[in-house]
Amino acid sequence: MHGPLAPIAWIAVGYAAVVTAAAGLGLVLKAPRPRWLDQLAWMLEALCAVLALGALGSLLRGHRPESMSTHVGYMIAVVCILPVALGSVREERDSWSCGVVAVAALATGVVAVRLMMTR
């Protein structure tokens, strides 16, 4: 991973790991999902939106990745996973909904890494 987007990508990946750990802890402790976990997850979503916009800007400036369809797929996925996951457990606040947030945050981190690897 290199280039101007790399720092944003690393921050997003690191932050996704923090959200995954926090949500995983909630699941292990069987704690109801706290409001602050949602806020952490939406902060991750904001970071991913910045990352995706940066990647889009790079494409618009003429950069061509090795596989355009794969790169664009990751660009869309990195911003879609968390809102869909949070929406699916909107009315549910028990510990298993923390597990859904953990899975979504982990997947978002992996997709952010893949997005930078396919540049």
């Binding site: 549910e92 298993w96 909904s97 979504a104 997947a107």
Partner: protein, 143 residues
């Protein structure tokens, strides 16, 4: 909802399982679509099997949803089919390398996805077993 319908479950491990299945529908479906659309001739078997995996995950998602609503029959079949697919295709990809010039979702038992494809049906079957154990009447009541 009629009085005979089972109550709608919202809590439980099935939420996490369904989230994992949804992710794999996205991952394997997008992967198969891109590979089939752009380079199908390179590894037709592997890419077709990736599409089959995506369809299996869609069926698995619905199976878990139905099981969580008290109808486990479809899941009892579907999850074993999925596990058999991972084991058979994973084994074939190891012993018949020439059949797989490129990897499918279930190649090497899903090593490209951190072996989650192999763990997922096992976890779902364990959940199914724990939540839908056959209920036996106590001897005193039966007598």
């Amino acid at each position: 909802m009629t009085p005979h319908d089972p109550p709608r479950p919202k809590r439980g491990p099935h939420l996490v399982l369904m989230a994992c299945y949804a992710l794999f529908i996205l991952a394997s479906g997008a992967r198969a679509a891109v590979q089939i659309a752009t380079k199908f001739h390179v590894a037709p078997l592997a890419y077709t099997l990736s599409a089959v995996a995506a369809v299996t995950y869609v069926a698995g998602w619905f199976a878990i949803r139905r099981a969580a609503h008290g109808r486990p029959r479809f899941a009892e079949v579907m999850l074993w089919v999925e596990l058999a697919g991972v084991v058979v295709i994973g084994t074939l990809s190891l012993v018949k390398r020439d059949w797989f010039p490129d990897a499918s979702v279930w190649s090497d038992y899903g090593s490209g996805y951190g072996w989650v494809p192999a763990a997922l049906p096992v976890a779902a079957l364990l959940w199914l077993h724990r939540t839908h154990e056959p209920v036996t009447e106590p001897l005193e009541e039966a007598a």
